[in-house]
């Protein structure tokens, strides 16, 4: 049944640090690499050398943020790289709309999955998701989404260090963290408490498990030196404030025209 479990024993998910992400897309590549050759239908590409499109479970958006002026002083815009994949919501609207029972949320760890053998490819779950986390594979005709690398995290054939989602394992900046958000002592829960983790689109009522850590406030720039304390300041003063000689005459002549 595509009813949601009332509670889940654990809430496995990701914590994504928007302060640290450098927008390198390594997680996108690692995700596609792992998930195109493991569980379920491969992640196909269409017209890869022309008007390309394809299925991805994780994508990086980049946003420009224009901060409000501080004391009427305009601030410079900042760039934030924004990785986005399934948030494994507690109230996942994608699950309840599914007519075939292909979409489900696991009671044991809260992972939202698609059973591709039951999916009829109607696309309604993708419509129900506010985050764009589900994409219909155009070759297989079934819905694809982040599995939280369920075939890695419990996989005893892998080294223990590799038993985490491919995106987390590969992130060179350490911007992605994987763990149990139901356990207040887990490192991900501590990060969320320390840095003020945020839900995306809380007004949609989905109660996402994945949390986003906002960019840290910008450093304040040191006040400009008055000059006295800097012995080199006189040498940096403008050489000529007013034009002199021939240029001054040209300047005056042009002014009078």
């Amino acid at each position: 049944m595509t009813a949601l479990p009332a509670t889940t024993a654990r809430k496995l998910g990701l914590v994504i640090d928007l302060d640290t992400c450098v927008g390198c897309h390594a997680c996108v590549t690692a995700c596609k690499g792992w998930n195109t050759q493991n569980y379920g239908a491969p992640l196909s590409d269409q017209d890869a050398y022309g008007d390309a499109s394809g299925t991805f479970l994780n994508r990086i958006h980049s946003f420009q943020v224009q901060p409000e002026p501080v004391n009427d002083v305009p601030q410079l815009a900042q760039t934030t790289h924004f990785p986005k994949s399934c948030l494994h919501c507690e109230d996942a609207p994608c699950v309840t709309v599914c007519p075939t029972g292909a979409s489900y949320k696991r009671a044991e760890d809260g992972i939202v999955l698609v059973n591709e053998d039951a999916c009829m490819g109607c696309g309604l779950c993708a419509w129900a998701c506010p985050y764009g986390a589900r994409e219909m594979d155009q070759a297989a005709g079934v819905m694809k989404k982040c599995t939280l690398c369920v075939d890695r995290i419990y996989n005893e054939n892998l080294e223990e260090i590799d038993r985490q989602p491919a995106c987390v394992r590969t992130c060179p900046a350490g911007a992605r963290h994987f763990g149990d958000l139901a356990d207040p002592d887990s490192h991900v829960s501590k990060l969320v408490a320390e840095r003020g983790g945020l839900d995306l689109m809380p007004e949609q009522g989905t109660k996402p498990v994945n949390q986003y850590l906002p960019p840290r406030p910008r450093d304040t720039i040191q006040p400009v030196m008055s000059g006295d304390e800097d012995i080199l300041a006189p040498f940096l003063a403008p050489v000529a404030e007013e034009p002199k000689g021939f240029l001054a005459w040209v300047d005056r002549a042009l002014e009078k025209l």
Partner: protein
């Protein structure tokens, strides 16, 4: 949202078909023999043809039968049940009327209720989606039901009832447009709530240079000036022209046919707009729906 022809054809034709089945089921008119055969041919043709059209937009048609399994949570699953059971009940009712000149009202009323329930379930597939604020309002089931009842009354020759439902349909549709234009702002999703970043946020770089399933399916832009013209065309063809024809002229088969065609053309345009104008909140991650 991408206006997929299969879904527009489905909802228009099957809506009219189930509307006709509703009126035949409640005995307006009570028909038998050859007349009944023609009526039911039209009704089942529209309803079943529409349902078949909707199967064409599935990515994996072989699993369509599994959509009957989740009736407890999914409106799409409930739609399937209502449609199939409703068509079977009405099939039996029709069989008895056509070949035995026998009208069993228990069957007819049950089938009529299931026919309307099918249309309601279809409308709830759209109305339940919080991600598409324009659809997420009570007027969505309102105009699906009134369009179906107006079409059914028109096709079954209930002229007075048709006029009443065509006027109600027009009024609900105008309300749906008016309310729909405000729904995105009411829902409160902005690029700032989507990203949780502080300040004025704008998209600087998309995740990829090309299109993807999401941008193709959910971020469909319709030129605003066309939208206004199409709204006028829809309301004229769907509601005003049939009402004027039915009220001002004596009832005649050719006239009725023109009224039905005008109604269907209007509903097609209205359903196209229903999709084309619907803004999905995921567009916020792709720089769509920016405030001026």
């Amino acid at each position: 949202m991408q206006p997929a022809p299969s879904v527009i054809i489905f909802s228009t034709l099957s809506g009219a078909g189930f509307g006709l089945l509703f009126f035949l089921g409640i005995g307006f008119p009570v028909v038998s023999g050859g007349v009944a055969f023609v009526f039911y041919l039209i009704a089942f043709g529209l309803a079943v043809g529409g349902l078949l059209a909707s199967v064409f937009h599935l990515g994996n048609k072989k699993n369509a039968w599994k959509s009957f399994s989740q009736w407890r949570t999914s409106w799409l699953s409930r739609e399937g049940w209502f449609a199939v059971v409703g068509l079977l009940v009405m099939g039996l009712y029709a069989f008895l009327q056509v070949f035995f000149d026998t009208t069993v009202f228990t069957l007819g009323f049950t089938g009529a209720a299931l026919s309307l329930a099918t249309v309601f379930a279809t409308s709830m597939i759209y109305a339940q989606l919080r991600t598409i604020p324009r659809w997420n309002q009570p007027a969505t089931p309102g105009f699906f039901l009134s369009a179906s009842l107006a079409g059914g009354a028109l096709l079954s020759g209930n002229v007075t009832t048709a006029v009443i439902f065509l006027i109600i349909l027009g009024a609900i549709t105008v309300f749906h447009w008016w309310k729909g234009d405000q729904r995105f702002a009411e829902a409160g999703s902005t690029i700032e709530t989507a990203t949780q970043l502080k300040g004025r946020v704008s998209l600087w770089e998309k995740p990829h240079t090309g299109q993807n399933y999401l941008t193709h399916e959910m971020i469909f832009h319709v030129a605003r000036k066309h939208a206004v013209k199409l709204r006028v065309i829809a309301i004229l063809a769907m509601s005003v022209v049939p009402v004027v024809l039915l009220v001002l002229f004596p009832v005649h088969h050719v006239l009725a046919a023109i009224a039905v065609l005008s109604y269907l053309a209007g509903v097609f345009v209205q359903r196209w707009l229903f999709f084309a104008e619907a803004e999905h909140v995921v567009g916020l991650y792709y720089g769509a729906h920016a405030r001026a």
